[in-house]
């Protein structure tokens, strides 16, 4: 009995190590933690597609270090604890040198902190809270943070002669960051933010929050919310008749990805530009593979995240995380699907182009 067990164990170990050795020899693995389920599932799926396109692109051009690139995608469920479990698995079981993700700032920060503590490289592909800057050495962002987006939004709203606005965002690192930045910028311009509501995530109704905001009779509602929560907010705003006032969405494709088009009709907002130099070819590749237009702008950032990681690994000439870190810092300007990516001293994207957009059955530029 005991002997049989030992025998089994040793056979299993041999097979496993053989398999592992084989995969190490033929591929270079990178990890990603994405919200494939939960409130941001639509964006998460788009990120996954962006990663798939990037992997296909890299492997079509000889891969990395002469081997095939592979991205191991794990689901975060939109929950920080699950995301941390996934990151732990990627780092300790798959031994990946680079982890990309997540989407929500509140989840990206703990994931990033864990990855950086383990000595690996973290690439933020979708979060924009100013708190991201504090993750620490070894974390890089291919997307601009909200000090940039809030300034853009405040200027854009104020230039439309809207002086009194109400603001709603999720009560997490992202929402708190963007709310504070927006208020600061908007009031600096001379506007007034009459109410700031930070909503609890994952509720089935936000009717009361909306009613509280509407009592000050603002000239416009500025909001930013995750796909399915935004769907509830938009629907209840429609049912309360609040959609007759202007709505301005920060990251409008995120805000409207799950909303009934009827309820979002006429909204304006900003969106991270996905059409840089390489943006067109990204969109073409996306349409060819998935037979539809990109669902959000965040797929292209995931795409760029993988491309930057591949470039850094190639430049490092090794999968050693410390060497990849150094290579990331020395990368210079990289021309991706979202424009020119260059990191500042803190590893954050230096400049971020934004588009002014409008919702007219889908998000279009204005």
């Amino acid at each position: 009995m005991k002997l049989a067990k030992v025998l089994y164990a040793s056979v299993a170990a041999t097979v496993l190590s053989a398999a592992a050795g084989k995969s190490v020899a033929q591929t270079v693995s990178v990890g990603a933690v994405l919200p494939l389920t939960g409130a941001s599932a639509s964006v998460g799926d788009d990120q996954r597609r962006g990663i798939e396109l990037a992997v296909a692109q890299v492997n079509a051009r000889n891969g990395v270090l002469g081997r095939k690139l592979q991205v191991i995608v794990e689901d975060s469920g939109g929950v920080a604890a699950t995301a941390l479990g996934a990151a732990r698995k990627l780092v300790s079981v798959n031994k990946v040198p680079v982890v990309l993700g997540e989407f929500s700032s509140g989840i990206t920060i703990p994931v990033g902190e864990y990855v950086v503590q383990q000595g690996d490289v973290h690439i933020n592909i979708g979060s924009s809270s100013p708190q991201i800057r504090k993750i620490g050495d070894g974390s890089f962002s291919v997307i601009g943070l909200d000090d940039l987006s809030a300034r853009f939004a405040a200027t854009d709203v104020f230039s439309q002669k809207l002086k009194d606005v109400a603001f709603i965002a999720p009560n997490n690192s992202y929402g708190q960051g963007v709310a504070a930045e927006f208020r600061k910028r908007f009031e600096a311009l001379g506007g007034k933010v009459s109410s700031v509501v930070l909503y609890s995530e994952g509720q089935s109704t936000y009717r009361r929050e909306l009613q509280q905001m509407s009592r000050s009779r603002p000239q416009a509602y500025v909001y930013s919310a995750y796909g399915q929560e935004a769907a509830t907010i938009n629907r209840e705003a429609y049912e309360l008749g609040l959609n007759k006032t202007k709505w301005y969405g920060i990251y409008l494709t995120m805000c409207t990805s799950d909303t009934v088009p009827q309820a979002a009709q006429g909204q304006e907002g900003l969106e991270v530009a996905s059409i840089g130099q390489g943006g067109k070819s990204y969109e073409d590749a996306y349409r060819q593979k998935y037979n539809e237009a990109p669902k959000s702008s965040f797929g292209s950032y995931a795409y760029d995240g993988v491309m930057v990681a591949a470039a850094a690994i190639n430049q490092a000439g090794s999968t050693d995380p410390a060497k990849i870190r150094a290579a990331m810092r020395a990368l210079g300007a990289y021309n991706g699907a979202t424009g020119t990516i260059a990191f500042d001293a803190g590893g954050q994207r230096r400049e971020q182009p934004y588009d002014k957009v409008r919702f007219d059955t889908k998000v279009v530029s204005r």
Partner: protein, 297 residues
């Protein structure tokens, strides 16, 4: 003022049917059935499934109510009554286990995405500055109608009389020829129907998603306890009181306290408000405000 009334009614109809169902079954099977709120979630999904299978909404709703009623009876017979022999706290833990299993099953089958019955939104009706949607009107009408029917059932029919007899003195009721098992099954079925109806209405005004039942847990228990557990119409009144408290807390402008305007209690703290009401009420009326006969908990 009208808006306040509408808000209160919308919130009341959200929790009333489920609270009444919980209370009605408690009068016969004495343990707090935590899984009851999950019947509401299951009912909302059953209606969704049937509408997706091509049935018109009303038929789907009827099918869902019957189905959940049966589920309630089966679970009660196979699980809760057996556990209840070991004590009401054991049965409560059992119901917690059942509710976790139900959540896991729905999560596996339907995922965590919220769903809606109809792809388009109905235009809201506007009376003065008050806005209400057709779905919300439907939900309020359904809630009020069901409570009316239930009152008639309890106080004007033989079934109601037997049920009330059973709840106040089971031995005496059995001696006078009341068929205990039949009444029990009937009432359990009724509670399942009410839960499915309440869940579907909630799915109609909000969204159908897996957290629907768990979100209901606290307000529903607060309403049922406030009304006196085991007193169905008391639960309806409890739901109304909780809704008034919640709406008041979120609607009152506390600007005067800090000398500004538009200062409101964040909605996150709203359930705390209903529990303060519950606590105060229970300190003075330990068996609920509308307690009549329930003395043995």
């Amino acid at each position: 003022m009208l808006q306040f009334l509408v808000d209160v009614l919308i919130r009341t109809s959200d929790i009333m049917l489920v609270a009444v169902g919980l209370s009605v079954v408690y009068s016969l099977v004495r343990f707090p059935n935590v899984a009851h709120v999950q019947y509401a979630m299951l009912g909302a999904f059953a209606t969704l499934g049937l509408t997706r299978a091509g049935l018109p909404f009303a038929l789907a709703l009827a099918g869902s109510c019957a189905g959940i009623g049966l589920v309630a009876v089966v679970l009660n017979t196979l699980v809760f009554r057996r556990l209840l022999r070991s004590g009401s706290s054991i049965a409560m833990i059992g119901s917690l286990a059942i509710s976790m299993i139900l959540i896991a099953v729905v999560l596996g089958v339907a995922g965590s995405r919220p769903w809606r019955y109809a792809p388009t939104l109905s235009s809201p009706l506007q009376v003065g500055t008050t806005v209400i949607s057709i779905d919300q009107l439907t939900s309020i009408a359904c809630g009020v109608g069901c409570i009316g029917l239930l009152a008639v059932l309890l106080f004007r029919t033989n079934v109601g009389r037997s049920m009330r007899a059973m709840s106040s003195n089971p031995a005496l009721a059995a001696a006078t020829g009341v068929d205990g098992a039949r009444v029990l099954n009937g009432i359990t079925f009724l509670s399942g129907v009410l839960a499915a109806l309440g869940g579907t209405m909630l799915g109609l005004t909000e969204t159908v998603h897996v957290g629907l039942g768990s979100n209901l847990l606290l307000p529903v228990f607060a309403a049922a306890i406030l009304g006196g557990l085991g007193n169905p119409l008391g639960a309806a009144a409890g739901a109304l009181l909780i809704s008034i408290a919640e709406t008041l807390v979120t609607n009152v402008d506390f600007g005067w306290v800090v000398g500004g305007s538009d200062v409101y209690v964040p909605v996150t703290y709203v359930s705390a408000a209903s529990f303060v009401i519950l606590l105060v009420a229970l300190l003075f009326k330990p068996y609920g405000i509308f307690d009549r006969e329930v003395r043995r908990v």
